[in-house]
Symmetry: C2
Subunit: 333 residues, 2 copies
DNA sequence: TTGTATGCGTTATCAT
DNA sequence: ATGATAACGCATACAA
């Protein structure tokens, strides 16, 4: 690990002042083209790379952003993260990835830590922070994009991205109804999740407009993973054996429910039709292939990053993006 | 976004010198317990958090490491990344996540970028860099852990972590042979991957010791994902219809091969037995459930992080960890 | 135990 | 067009 080169080293070698080198490297005016060229090639030869820590201290710009997710192992967030990282790469940014494990304490600690490292902005996915605290945190950062969360009020440095869950629920329930299903259960995500709340609303609204009764017993919350889905479906079957359809919080939960069906000897979709949300790659791998609400997750990631950079650059107005899901009918419903 | 507090602010408020505050905050000797306590509570009240950029410039320690993977969307790397991040969190570190997309150019660019941000170390997973270049890069960083790659020679700041692929191949082939299979194909990963090379060696060795002929036609390389596996298996079936077993580079490839079997009307495992590698969560979700070589991926991530910190702290000797895979017999073989 | 000067590598600002 | 100097916020080394 040889010594790092600094601007001073290049300046000495080029027999010019440190500032001339700085200007040349940063393509700033104030250097003759001739000198600039010679400095640039010299720096290249010597293998100079600017130190972003020092630059960051001087400019407060670090070309770094934070990406906060509950669990990067969850295909949903993995896809979003990939979109974010791709976009970051294209724009010369690096991302700090942190997992919260759905733990608000850990999430808060992560934000502290990122803040201390002078990130220029943060993308918060499915934050589990209470609204007031979340708003406090948002104010600490120059720019924030929240995914899967609806801010109470517009904030100047905030853009939100949400899936249109009401619409999604309508699409799913509409399909079930068209298939003649009437005992449609809903396996929801964690109660403190915004998407969970919205999907429940959408579910209720869809039942209402179909003039179907809403039995609170037929809704079950669970942790948003396969195991959660399996357990929740099992509980539902125990309570209400005649359930003939399940709308699941997401694809993972839906697949868990499929497993529960298998264990309970129920055939999918004949006995129990199932629809998920997200259309993660898994959805086409499981058998029967999962009918689900498609969303372009990677695109959401890219959109989140672009929006964040827009806020940072100052040419963004507070906005709330709605992503429209699209029903992909496959084999499970 | 209110102004950041600095040591100077706290010092002024506490009516002591900046250095006393610094010492108090960092739990360094040279401050009376009394003064330290009052400073600490004051800093807490005022909401002071040290600026890591400034600290990093002064100390060259940034509490930051880089994690380089081909694709964080691939469950293998997602699991490893989670292990790394968990460990990092526990140790007060943050990680830069970068995807290379298997592109050496992008990988190199990523390393440049991370280096410029003074990371204390890097974890390189399945690097696609040519050996010489990789070694050059390793020398740039204070500490490096490579996963899925065997260094030619020990380096003082390097620890490698590899799955024992020879052993893995033996376990897989042994199982096939015990099942009476004799036409055992191998779908390998990209040629420039070290694990691919080693798995091929293991495959050959296993065939040799079983005194079975080795037909080069029965080995096919592919990109290490489902689509690659599907295509490769289809090509193999076209060439050698009597294949009765497939050893796949990893689980994704194995699942792709399963799909090819489905398309070719071959039953798994009756007509074609299949064994994968890694035991990603998917392996138990697909039907038939995949027989595979189990490796604790999250644990590899944690191990990588621990090793990296050991090197950074200076209490590590060059080492090469071998992770022993374990055959998990399920339904596909 | 406490405080002062100095440097980390860069950019901003003000001279020349 | 170039250069000198002062920040940026902190820690190291040394002085009191």
């Amino acid at each position: 690990m040889k010594k790092r080169l600094t601007l001073a080293d290049i300046a000495k070698a080029a027999k010019v002042s440190l500032m001339t080198v700085s200007r040349a490297i940063n393509n700033k005016p104030g250097v003759s083209d001739e000198v600039r060229q010679s400095i640039l090639t010299l720096a290249e030869e010597m293998g100079y790379h600017p130190n972003y820590i020092a630059r960051g201290l001087a400019t407060r710009r670090t070309a770094t952003i934070g990406l906060v997710v509950p669990d990067n192992t969850n295909p949903f967030f993995a896809q979003v993260a990939r979109g974010v990282e791709d976009g970051a790469y294209e724009n010369g940014y690096n991302i700090f990835l942190v997992n919260t494990n759905e733990d608000p304490v850990r999430e808060l600690a992560a934000l502290d830590s990122l803040w201390q490292k002078n990130i220029e902005g943060a993308i918060l996915c499915s934050s589990r922070l209470p609204t007031e605290i979340l708003e406090e945190q948002i104010q600490r950062f120059p720019a924030v994009v929240v995914v899967n969360r609806e801010p109470r009020k517009p904030m100047p440095n905030l853009i939100s991205i949400n899936i249109n869950d009401q619409r999604g629920a309508q699409l799913a329930l509409g399909h079930f109804l068209a298939l003649g299903r009437r005992q449609i259960a809903f396996i929801n995500g964690p109660a403190n999740s915004t998407s969970a709340r919205r999907r429940l609303e959408g579910y209720r609204a869809a039942l209402r407009s179909a003039e179907l009764p809403l039995d609170p017993q037929i809704v079950e919350a669970c942790s948003p993973d396969m195991e959660g889905g399996r357990l929740a479906a099992a509980a539902l079957f125990a309570r209400l054996p005649k359930i003939d359809a399940i709308y699941a919080f997401n694809d993972l939960v839906a697949i868990g429910a499929m497993q529960a069906c298998e264990e309970a000897g129920k055939k999918v979709p004949e006995d129990t039709a199932i629809i998920g949300v997200d259309d993660i790659p898994l959805a086409t791998i499981v058998r029967p292939r999962l009918t689900t609400l498609h969303v372009n997750l990677r695109h959401i990631g890219r959109l989140a990053l672009r929006s964040l950079l827009d806020i940072i650059k100052g040419d963004a107005t507070p906005a709330a993006f709605q992503i429209e899901p699209e029903l992909r009918i496959r084999d499970s419903a």
